[in-house]
């Protein structure tokens, strides 16, 4: 075939734009097949974007891309290619599921690729053996160290024997030993599956040296391609780092020179700046930091070296007082760390690992805010900010939003913010990860200046060896413990290593002992016994759908708080609403203003005093009293008897009794009026009877009122079916509303883009567990209705249940629909609440019948599923109806399910932009 000679991928004229920034600028690239191809260059130069496009995860904006002989713009080709490509996104375990175990994570991916049980088992087993993860198969991914997470990510990527493996910075933030193991693993995998091409982005130049072919990138453009040797030759430099810098355009290199750290003047003092003794921190049964002790002297640059998750961050947080220590103690400037001690905080500057300034504020606003919060006197503030802006070269960015800054500049801003109050000590948690070499050196220039010229103590963590070498002293950290602590030179000498990297590896191997050694040498198991039974693509696969459903279920089961809210929440609300929402008005407070005070007036008023609907309060004295007490809200109504009532009655002058209603609550007022009119009619009837009024005055008419479906006209019979309707809409939609958007925020949405799973399988798979949860809720609510509220189902229980099933399919679907179009979880929660609550409470027939809705209300009522299930719920509970009577409502709900699903499918993208 020509494929091998044509290369694994060809990129021509590809540009990519995010709003205003150009990430890729007219890229032309021909990538050879069957090799390890490295993409080098700092963060934000377009490496990730390019790899995403090659993996088919990102949409191509302009240009064309051929991968494995197929055009990626062609949808069918892309679908067919999907199972042949594996993609591991940037970030430690970003496409993994942290609550799932190692085995379950791989199993999930295997299912997405349609592997049968037997095949899954041997493949997973093989990969676990090969990566040394077998002893940890049952451990949750979230509890793995950084290196192990990346190995797990690799297992997940390799589960389907891809022809092209795309790894985006797989070793960033991983300790050197794990890194070395990782690359050995890749080599073994390539040996087993010859012809597999591997594309890797990396920030470590020493790794890049090992690759077969390199693509050096900067500013969305390709600077150079070729083998490491060719690139070094082209630049005329001996190491890749220097070669890369010299390949940069002139203006970027300007001012860059090799950084020299002047020696520290030794002045030993009685109290060290930082002292930690036996510092320990536990999270549950997991010990994150174990008996860590060290001392840092004033003006010293002290480095913490270790992988992500080894306890560096936790240690730093304990020093800042953010986290209380489980045991041991820490002192800053000779004083114990106390979270409430504001004075010490003014002497410390802290830069946390992730960018934690306000991205929505401009550079100037961020600086000003912090200067103000550190209470810089207004007079000095402007001068200080000016100095900082100049020193940190932020002038041209001062009106930009912090979120829009390139990473290197953002880190400079973070440091500027951390030193705004001229602290005596800086605690910097991996301040340079992801920053390009030039910017990193600039950053270090600033640190050196602070340390040597201003005597600031600097405590910094990093995983770059060349940065560690610049520190006065360093500690190697691993699995919560400090392995060794000394000057870089002494540490290297102690292990007789030729580099600091090698020294660290030696210490790590010593710490991990023989167990890990055995892993490194373990043989790769034999290839597949027989052909793989992979059904590689296809329009719809129940297996992939169930794979997603299974995973979602496991995640839900491991979040007991959410599960409890989901299952108990509706029950509690049912009790509260079932008893609480009542239209049975009783005990209406009223008072009388009897201005007659005769036996006749008292006889009239007696009718009210006896009724259980009314509750009499102290009689009123006069009109002013009446006005005041109505205004205070004490009384629902007042009966006023006019003067001379008795006399007028006897003389048949038709006296007028006044009923004053508190109209502030119209519903209560109307009820009061109805009741009072009833009492009044009864009074007239008795009067007629007593005084034998002629027959012509009272017609022989009887009005029979038949309260159908609810003979006693009790709220509970109408409310209970209604509350079930309410809860089965609001709670399930709230549960699914964060479903998709959370995957977007956490990054696991990549699995939708990168695996053969279709949008339909993804949505239905995610929906299925929540339908089950909602149906469990339905059954428990039904039981509650029957046994607690004693509201029987007069009609068909089957009809009610089928209706409920359709309804929760619609309500969970509605949540997913919301989730498909919003961008953040807050917006999802907010939108789901605000969009569902109005049609469900006000326009579903819950409070007022749908038949009397008009105009906009009618449109809202008929345009939402709640009203139709209200008919089914009320119909089966109280009206003794069955399937055939409610057919229209079933059809409407079914239509909603289809429309909602179609809209979600349309809104959910199958590729990133």
């Amino acid at each position: 075939m020509t494929q091998a000679t044509a290369g694994v991928a060809r990129v021509s004229a590809v540009s990519h734009r995010y709003r205003t920034t150009l990430a890729l600028d007219n890229i032309e690239l021909e990538i050879p097949a069957g090799r390890r191809v490295g993409f080098i260059g700092p963060d934000g130069v377009g490496k990730s974007t390019l790899l995403g496009i090659l993996a088919g995860v990102r949409r191509i904006q302009t240009g064309s891309v051929q991968v494995l002989g197929g055009d990626l713009r062609n949808h069918r080709h892309r679908t067919a290619l999907c199972p042949r490509i594996a993609y591991m996104p940037q970030g430690l375990g970003r496409n993994l599921y942290m609550t799932l175990s190692v085995f379950e994570n791989i199993d999930f991916f295997a299912r997405l690729f349609g592997q049968r049980r037997a095949e899954r088992e041997w493949r997973i087993n093989e990969l676990l053996q090969a990566t040394g993860l077998a002893p940890f198969a049952g451990r949750a991914a979230g509890k793995l160290s950084g290196g192990m997470k990346q190995k797990l990510g690799l297992c997940c990527a390799l589960i389907h024997d891809p022809d092209l493996l795309i790894l985006d910075e797989p070793t960033t933030g991983v300790d050197p030993l794990s890194r070395r193991q990782f690359w050995r693993l890749i080599d073994r995998m390539r040996a087993r599956r010859s012809g597999m091409s591997v594309l890797i982005a990396t920030a470590y130049m020493e790794e890049a040296e090992q690759f077969d072919w390199l693509v050096a990138m900067d500013d969305g453009r390709v600077l150079a391609t070729g083998s490491p040797r060719e690139i070094k030759a082209q630049a005329g430099k001996r190491d890749l780092d220097a070669a890369f810098i010299s390949l940069l355009p002139e203006q970027k290199r300007r001012g860059h020179e090799a950084l020299v750290v002047p020696p520290r003047r030794h002045e030993r003092e009685a109290t060290p700046a930082i002292r930690a003794r036996g510092l320990t921190r536990k999270f549950g049964d997991f010990t994150a930091v174990d008996q860590v002790s060290f001392e840092i002297h004033r003006g010293e640059i002290f480095g913490f070296l270790g992988s992500n998750g080894c306890g560096k961050t936790t240690t730093m947080k304990m020093l800042t007082g953010l986290l209380p220590a489980s045991a041991g103690e820490a002192e800053l400037f000779g004083q114990r760390v106390d979270a409430r001690d504001l004075a010490t905080r003014k002497r410390v500057g802290y830069m946390s690992q992730s960018f934690s300034l306000y991205g929505e504020l401009t550079v100037r606003h961020n600086l000003e805010l912090h200067a103000q919060l550190f209470q810089l006197p207004a007079a000095q503030r402007q001068a200080r900010l000016q100095t900082l802006t100049q020193r940190f070269e932020l002038q041209e960015h001062s009106e930009d939003l912090a979120a829009d800054l390139p990473l290197g500049i953002r880190q400079r801003l973070s440091l500027a913010v951390a030193v705004v109050h001229e602290p005596d000590m800086l605690i910097l948690d991996e301040p340079t990860s992801g920053v390009d070499p030039v910017a990193r050196d600039r950053f270090w220039e600033l640190l050196v200046d602070l340390s040597r010229n201003q005597g600031v103590t600097i405590f910094i963590s990093t995983h770059f060896m060349n940065e560690a070498e610049r520190c006065d002293r360093i500690s190697f950290m691993h699995a919560g413990r400090v392995l060794a602590s000394d000057t870089p030179h002494a540490l290297q000498a102690a292990r007789a290593a030729d580099s600091l990297d090698a020294a660290f590896i030696a210490y790590l191997e010593e710490a991990e002992g023989a167990a890990e050694q055995a892993e490194a040498g373990s043989a790769v198991a034999r290839p597949a016994p027989g052909p793989a039974s992979v059904s590689r693509s296809g329009i719809f696969s129940p297996m992939r759908l169930l794979g997603y459903a299974r995973r979602e279920t496991m995640e839900l089961l491991r979040d007991p708080i959410r599960l409890a809210f989901a299952l108990l929440g509706p029950l509690i609300l049912m009790v509260v609403f079932g008893y609480g929402i009542s239209f049975d008005v009783e005990d209406l407070a009223y008072a009388v203003l009897d201005r007659d005070q005769t036996p006749q007036s008292r006889a009239y008023l007696e009718n009210f005093a006896g009724s259980r609907y009314f509750h009499q309060r102290t009689p009123l004295a006069d009109h002013a009293d009446l006005e005041r007490r109505l205004r205070s809200g004490e009384l629902a109504f007042v009966i006023e008897i006019p003067p001379d009532f008795g006399r007028d009655l006897k003389r048949e002058r038709r006296p007028q009794v006044a009923l004053w209603l508190d109209g502030a609550i119209p519903f209560r007022a109307e009820t009061s009026r109805g009741y009072v009119q009833g009492v009044h009619r009864e009074y007239l009837r008795q009067l007629a009877h007593r005084e034998r009024v002629s027959a012509s005055q009272v017609a022989p008419l009887r009005i029979e009122t038949r309260y159908r479906y609810n003979q006693n006209f009790k709220s509970v019979y109408a409310m209970v079916p209604g509350v079930i309707m309410l809860l089965l809409m609001l709670i399930p939609s709230m549960m699914t509303a964060v479903g998709v958007v959370r995957e977007k925020e956490l990054g696991s949405i990549t699995n939708l883009y990168a695996t053969p799973v279709t949008r339909l399988e993804f949505l239905l798979g995610k929906q299925l567990p929540y339908i089950v949860i909602a149906m469990i809720s339905f059954i428990s609510l039904l039981a509650m209705a029957l046994f607690l509220f004693r509201v029987p189902v007069a009609g068909s229980v089957a009809a009610l249940s089928v209706g409920a099933l359709l309804y929760v399919m619609a309500s969970t679907g509605f949540g997913l629909l919301v989730s498909s179009f919003v961008k953040t979880q807050i917006a999802a929660i907010f939108a789901a609440a605000i969009l569902s609550i109005m049609p469900t409470i006000n326009f579903s027939g819950f409070l007022s019948p749908v038949s009397s809705l008009a105009g906009g209300g009618k449109a809202v009522g008929y345009g939402f599923p709640a009203g139709y299930f209200q008919q089914i719920s009320v119909g089966t509970f109280t009206k003794a109806l069955g399937f055939s009577d409610l057919l229209v409502n079933y059809l409407a709900l079914a239509a909603f399910i289809v429309v909602i699903l179609a809209l979600s499918l349309a809104l959910l993208r199958l590729q990133e932009n």
Binding site: Y358, R562, G569, I826, L847
Partner: protein, 375 residues
């Protein structure tokens, strides 16, 4: 412990800048204080309005026609004439809330002084309309029959007349009620979700840690959120009251708007504190959603803004006294409808502030603990 109010102010200003740059939130806030208030107020009345009624006229007399014509808008839709055998079907389908069955020879029997019975079928699952509607229909029938049988003679007049006067809302329009209650519901929803979610977002993005290493007290951070989010909502609510409730919906306001707005400010302290407290209980956004939403629903439905408080079981009434919304609803009703002054509502204000203080204190206690878990 000496709060630094300048810090509170500056952090709050930051909060406002953040909100300004979040277009989705601004749109949702706008929607909340316009459409989400207008539509229920305009179209979801709970009084007898536009009720669907049908008449089975087996008499076909002058009197039966008069009764049918007596069912007038806006209370009833135009009555539809049905045949007797359709009654069950239409009521099962919920198409008519009332079906009046006028028997054969109704008019003749009445004129001859023979006993006769007119039947009113009521869909008693329509809780808000059934009772009032039945009472209305009885009045209409009685009036028409008396007028028809007794002519215009004085003899038909009852010996005692009952004159009904509704104070504060002469026509008992539920629109007046719903507009303001919906406004209150939206204030509650916004305050709880906006503040709580803002805290969880700061925690998920790590910015809260950043604040905690500065010379700031948790109380200052919380108060900043309270005043900034509170201010946005007070302004939005006041505009909504003037432009939408008083303007578009033409609901008259009896009392002092200034007093109402001040009370709203106190209320917002209380509910934003509740939002922060809930955010300290939840660890993730999905948990917060599942926690905050039911709390909001309870406050929405049981504070007296949807159904009368008096008709709830006493135990529940007592429990609901612990919710700030219950006090705010009665505060708002007293001022906006009844024109009450401070002397009548101060106790509610004190209750709202006290409950808010409890939430605030509880949130403060949990504030640091919540940073720990977000390792």
């Amino acid at each position: 412990m000496g709060l630094n109010l300048r810090n509170v102010f500056r952090l709050g200003v930051k909060e406002l800048y953040s909100l300004r740059n979040d277009l989705v939130m601004v749109v949702l806030i706008f929607y909340t204080f316009t459409y989400a208030i207008y539509t229920p107020a305009q179209h979801a009345q709970t009084e007898l309005r536009n009720a669907a009624v049908a008449v089975v006229d087996e008499d076909r007399s002058q009197l039966s026609n008069r009764i049918r014509d007596g069912l007038l808008p806006p209370y009833f839709q135009r009555p539809v004439t049905l045949s007797a055998r359709d009654i069950d079907a239409v009521m099962d389908a919920g198409r008519y809330t009332f079906v009046i069955d006028i028997p054969p020879d109704f008019e003749a029997d009445l004129l001859a002084g023979r006993n006769t019975a007119l039947q009113v079928n009521i869909d008693a699952t329509a809780m808000t309309q059934a009772g009032h509607g039945a009472s209305y229909i009885q009045n209409v029938v009685n009036r028409e029959v008396s007028a028809f049988v007794g002519g215009a003679s004085n003899a038909a007049q009852p010996p005692v007349e009952l004159v009904v006067r509704a104070r504060f809302n002469p026509n008992l329009q539920s629109r007046w009620f719903l507009a303001v209650m919906q406004l209150i519901n939206m204030i509650t929803l916004m305050a709880v979700i906006l503040t709580g979610a803002a805290l969880i977002r700061e925690r998920e993005h790590g910015t809260i840690e950043h604040l905690l290493v500065m010379p700031l007290r948790p109380a200052e951070i919380m108060l900043a959120k309270v005043w900034a989010n509170g201010l946005v909502i007070v302004v939005a609510a006041t505009l909504s009251l003037y432009l939408l409730v008083q303007g578009v919906l033409a609901v008259p306001v009896a009392g002092s708007v200034a007093l109402f707005v001040s009370g709203t400010a106190v209320y917002l302290f209380s509910v934003t504190a509740l939002g922060i407290f809930l955010a300290t209980l939840a660890r993730t956004m999905p948990q917060f959603g599942l926690l905050a939403f039911p709390v909001f629903m309870v406050m929405n439905l049981l504070s007296g803004g949807t159904t009368p408080l008096d008709s709830m079981p006493e135990l529940l009434q007592g429990v609901m006294q612990l919710a700030p919304s219950t006090h705010f609803v009665s505060f708002a009703q007293a001022i906006l409808y009844r024109g009450a002054g401070l002397e009548l509502v101060w106790l509610e204000l004190v209750a709202i502030a006290a409950i808010g203080a409890v939430f605030f204190a509880a949130a403060l206690l949990r504030f640091r603990a919540t940073v720990d878990v977000s390792r």
